[in-house]
Structure formats: C-alpha cells, structure tokens
C-alpha cells in the first residue's frame, strides 16, 4: 500500500537528516570488514537450482584449558542437515568433522581460499577433512542437485 501524501512530503531536507543518521550508524557500527568478501565467496558456486542450507546453530564447545576451542555449527535444509565440528589442528589449520543426516554416502567438497578439497561421507553420513587452512570455507554436498552452506571463517 503506498501513501501518496507521504511520498510528496519527502523533501531534500528529510534526506539530509536521513543522511546524518546514516553517517552516524556507518561510523559507530559498520559491517565487519570481511562481510562483502564472505558473501561473494559463498555466492560464487551458488546457482538458482542449488539449495542453500541455513546456519541454525553455533556452539562453542568448552575446552579444558588454553585458547584453543572447538566449534560446532549446524546447517539446516529441507532435505538434509549437516553438522560440522571445527577443531584446531596444527598451526593455522583446523580439522573439520562433518555429519550428514539423514545419513548417506555423498560426495562432499570443501571450498577454501587455497582450493577445493574433495571427500565422501560414509554410510553413517560422517566425513572429515583433517588439515584445513584457516580462512574462509564453504561446504558443498553433491546429491540430487547441489546443497551449499554459507561461507564461514575457520
């Protein structure tokens, strides 16, 4: 529903005020510097036919000591759910353990800034990439059509 009287009421001085509000928020709470790159990375392989999983849960798993911590992220879709666990491995590397439900053996790819790692889930839906370089990654599950996750920083 449009409101013509309001449409007419918007003048340049309104936009000057809105510009000030915009400048304020842009200065005090800007988006993370990497956000545009994360989005572009994730959009690269995304096609209109692909299903994009939604990140539905993030969990920091308590570590006994030290700075290192394990994270678990859940991605939900209509046909499948993927849970990945990220564990610090060597310097600048993490181990990615994944679990696809309903469990099935599927081709799985992990896109990283250094190239794509390929693997397969077992019949219980488990898969792993044991040395993943820290940075931006995105998981792609190939089955009837592709299923992709958003990109995440590991």
């Amino acid at each position: 529903m449009t409101t013509p009287e309001w449409h007419q009421a918007v003048d340049d001085s309104d936009f000057v005020v809105l510009q000030q509000v915009r400048d304020l928020w842009a200065a005090v709470d800007p988006p993370p510097a990497g956000l545009v790159d994360w989005v572009r990375f994730a959009m690269e392989p995304t096609t209109p036919e692909a299903e994009v999983l939604k990140m539905s849960g993030r969990r920091e798993l308590a570590a006994a000591r030290g700075d290192e911590h394990t994270r678990s992220i859940t991605f939900d879709g209509t046909a499948l759910t993927v849970i990945i666990t990220l564990t610090p491995a060597a310097e600048d590397a993490v181990r990615v353990d994944g679990w696809i439900t309903p469990p099935s053996a599927l081709h799985v790819e992990l896109r990283t800034s250094q190239g794509t790692l390929s693997g397969t889930s077992d019949e219980r839906g488990r898969f792993a990439f044991d040395q993943v370089c820290c940075g931006l990654v995105q998981l792609i599950v190939r089955h009837n059509g592709d299923t992709l996750t958003p990109s995440i920083v590991v």
Binding site: W6, D12, Q20, V21, L24, P30, P31, V52, R58
Partner: protein, 198 residues
Amino acid sequence: MTGVSQPSATNARFGVLLESARAGDRAGLDEIVSELTPMLWHIARAQGLDPDSSSDVVQNTWLSLVRSLSDIRTPAALTGWLVMVTKREAWRIARARRAERPVDTADLGEDPEPGPGPEQLAVAADTNRRLWALLRRLPERCQRLLRIIAFVPRPDYAAISADLDVPHGTIGPTRGRCLARLRRLLETATPDDERREP
C-alpha cells in the same frame, strides 16, 4: 552538506547492474553486493541481533537472492526484496533467541542495545554524539525504523518505507512521524551543542 545523491543517476546505475546480474554476470552481482550489504547489516542489527548472527542473516539473504533474481526486474523491487527478506529473517532469529534464553540468565540484562557503546561514541565525531543523544529520546521503534530507512537508496525510499510501516502484528508509528520527531529535536536542541566543533 554532502552526500545527498542524485536519485536518477543511482537508479540508472542500479538498473544496469541488475540487468547484467540477471543475465548471469557475476561482476554486476558483486557490485550490487558491495553497495547494498551495509543496508542489510543495519537492518539485521536494528532487529537486535548480535554481530555474528547479523553477518549470517546478511549472507543468507544474498544467497537466497540467487534463486529469486529471475523474478526481480527493477532496482526498487530488488531493494524491497532484500529489505523484506533480511528483516523477516533477522526478526525470526531474534524472536527465537528470546524464546530459548534460559530463565536464569534473564537477569543479566536485555538484548544488548543495538546502538553504539560508550567507546564507539568516544571516537565518534561530535555531530554524531549529538545526533545519538537526540535519537535516544525517540521511542525504540522509531530508532530502529530510522536506522533502516537511512540506508535505503533514495530512489527506492518511498516504496520501501511504506512497506516498512507494517511491523509484525502491531501498528507502529509511521516513519514519517519518526522522522518529523527527529527533525523537531534537531531544530530545538540547544544551539550550544551544535557550535561545539570537533
């Protein structure tokens, strides 16, 4: 005062970018992403989401766009679609968060105020500090609404702000009233505040 862009030029450029993106040109889409991501970010933050969740919501919106791009033909339709998808998803997550928060942490405080903290304001220019002080005198719903519409591209403003006037399940104050209240505050605030230079 700078920064009041020429609506027609912006609109024409977005029209060209949208056309090329619809034709499958990823460079066009990339440029749209970098132009409009700040708007989506501020929508998510205005719903009270933390920075991580806001980033997730923004990314989710852009990835969903790939599927819907073929149905979106004008820059105004694009902006409107992005605003609505982001707002709906951010609102959904914010509501789910509130519902699942355990009772024993309820005393720790409300959602972190989706506004600048003291340290952010400390580095902000005087004009921003003054504006923030005035904005805080508006109802919270007005603050959120103004934060969102401030980032809507000017050519799409009228159409989109009309849609934004329909909050979920409640009759909210119109953006017109919010804007008028802020303008009144700006006009009547003590001139001493205004003269102080950074």
